[in-house]
Amino acid sequence: MVGLNRYKRELSASLAYAVLLVAVGIIAPSFFGATNLRDLALNNAPVLLVAVGMTLVILVAQIDISVGSQFAVATVAAGVLAQAGVPIPLLLPLLILIGAAMGAVNGLLIGTLRLPSIIVTLAMLVAWRDALRWTTGGEWVQNLPANFQWFGLGQSLGQWVIVLAALLVLAFFAWALRNLAAGRRVYAVGSDAEAARLAGVEPGQVTFFVFVLMGALVGLASLLNAVRFSTVPSNAGLGLELKAIAAVVVGGTAITGGRGTMLGTLIGVALLGTIGTALTFAGINPFWEKAIQGAIILTALASDFVWGRVERMRTAKQAV
């Protein structure tokens, strides 16, 4: 009973996803073609990685709207490094480091100096994006080495590597949140920072490391995204923060922190990522995509609100 109740948001999101898949299956069975499914997974792998980081950020009751700009910076960095002849295998740790460094800036300002995350990351959203525009002049990075695309693994293998890597990272963080002492601290700080401090957990430190991880995941995501193409754009990641936050919230993570799972985030990314393609296959004007996504987010929030009230009434009764 306790167990099921705990995962009710994951359950309801999966239910919604199942309904969507069945509906598409009836209207347009060709949706389930292997190529389409693979493209879908490939398109959403970078979003999934960013959403994993965003889950951590929201679990500690913070927000990061600078991830899209960080993503753009990291993408260009990947291109420039590859162009300059840095060995392709080295790109992976380098991009993770670059992302982590950008995350550390947020972490210092938010965790250590205790500035509000919405303002700090709003400033970084503008700053990184404009710094990039100023540096690149809007030019794309071209003439990349031949083994940049798909890490030189060839398209079909490269595609699977990317999707698998994203899923592995998700699985690792899902395990870590549950099983590591660090994961426990993330939940504690997000649930009640002052109570956590009184129990000897430093909320500032936990918040700092969460933002560093967020940045590292953005770095990784940007590389996995960039290698899909033969040139590197300087305006990548526009709107990525909204996609990630929406997926996390739809997946059942409480925007007030302290509650949520990686499994929910996976379902959230899948649900929101599928709608656009599903609409196209069902022959509906894809302009509806954003409207439907908005409706799903509102439904998720409304159900939280209703459940919250039901639960409060129940605990109030128990307390008396």
Partner: protein, 497 residues
Amino acid sequence: MANPTLLRASNIDKSYAGVHALKQASFELQAGEVHALIGENGAGKSTLIKIITGAVAPDAGELHLNGKLVTHNSPRVAKQLGIAAMYQQPALFPELSVAENIAIGLEESSLLSRVNWRNRKRKASELLARVGANIDPDAEAGELTLPQQQLVEIARALGAEAKVLILDEPTASLSVEDTQKLFTVIRQLRNEGAGIVYISHRLEELPAIADRVTVLRDGSTIDTRLMSEVNRQQLIQLMVGRELSAVFPKKAVQIGESVLELRQLGCAASGIHDVNLIVRAGEIVGLAGLVGCGRTQLAHTVFGLTPADHGDVLLRGKPVKLSSAAQAIESGIAYVPEDRRRHGVILDLAISANITLASLSRFSSYGAVDFGREKKVAADYARRLRIKTPAIFAPVGTLSGGNQQKVALSRWLVTNPSVLILDEPTQGIDVGAKSEVHALMTDLAAQGVAILMISSELPEVLGMSDRIAVMCRGTIAATLDRAEATQEKILALALGQ
């Protein structure tokens, strides 16, 4: 006294979630009098005031104003009826000007009505002049000193033509001089026919200002007397006046060496200074004092949350530097905070996770939590402390208050502390859970833990402590032995005698 009765509260009853805050309490205020309302912490003064000002609704009883029954009281209704209250911390809008603060709630306001700034300022100046305050109406309220802010609040009450003015501890943070000035204003209001309810812990100032005094104890009205007919001693007796009814399971145990010693400890940020205290192994030291005297602040300083900037903390004779909770835990200090629902436990986390939170590193290897051991230890404590729960993995938010407090206690027992600081350990929990907590404290003392217990409940302090340290205005006024301590002595010390 031939003055008409302004306000009459009769047979007021009020319970909050199981705590009976007011039992058939009655109170009467005449026009043109200053009526003091006194009582210990938790006697029901605040609740009575909240009922008069409409902030909470009574469960039973009646409130009459000018002989008319007030049926649907609310802050808005109370204000319209001419009831104004001023609390220890003035409730002004710091970013607004003095004139604006006074105008809020006074001026006729539909949303689109235009502000007449000149009128507003003139009115403010008039009212400020009436309370004898020399304050610029254009000044920002947040820039004023505390006594000035109080005068602005009184001016606002005057502007609302308040008939009943409630002053809650108005002199708590005032100098002698400012207190005298405030008294002058109060007397003037009284002479103009207002009725003033005056709440204060400073019994010594009552003869100078109050005409009558009503004593509350345990939620009931004990007596109303003319101020000229009672002395301090009698008032203290009326405030305390109860027998030690509950039986406390205190056992004599072998008292060992000094475990925790505070030498001239001070922390400017939290207002404590020159604290000297020793707690020995096996000893329970009660820390008594009035709300706001710095007991919790002292605990926070010892626990490293607001590090000391003066003096020393010694553990087993060795000075230690405590600048974070993690360091304090490492050194063997445990602190169970007050206001359990807010800070003692984390409601979203499982019972087991709450119990191990302060000693997580001991329950994990290479960063991974050992669920088996965690479950075993948590289940063990749940059994020992009789935590009633369907499942050890259930969120703590699903438990009752007493059981939540036992989870909070378990968390700190797991750390195996040598010093245990308990802040209001039995506040707001039911009688059964309370005696279980007391029995547990006795057991721990027998095992050699040094316990420092903060409590506002004098019978608990007297019943459980080997020694009692009484705090007053940020420092320890005196330490009493169990044998010599009485409620009267503690209260007198806490009141600053």
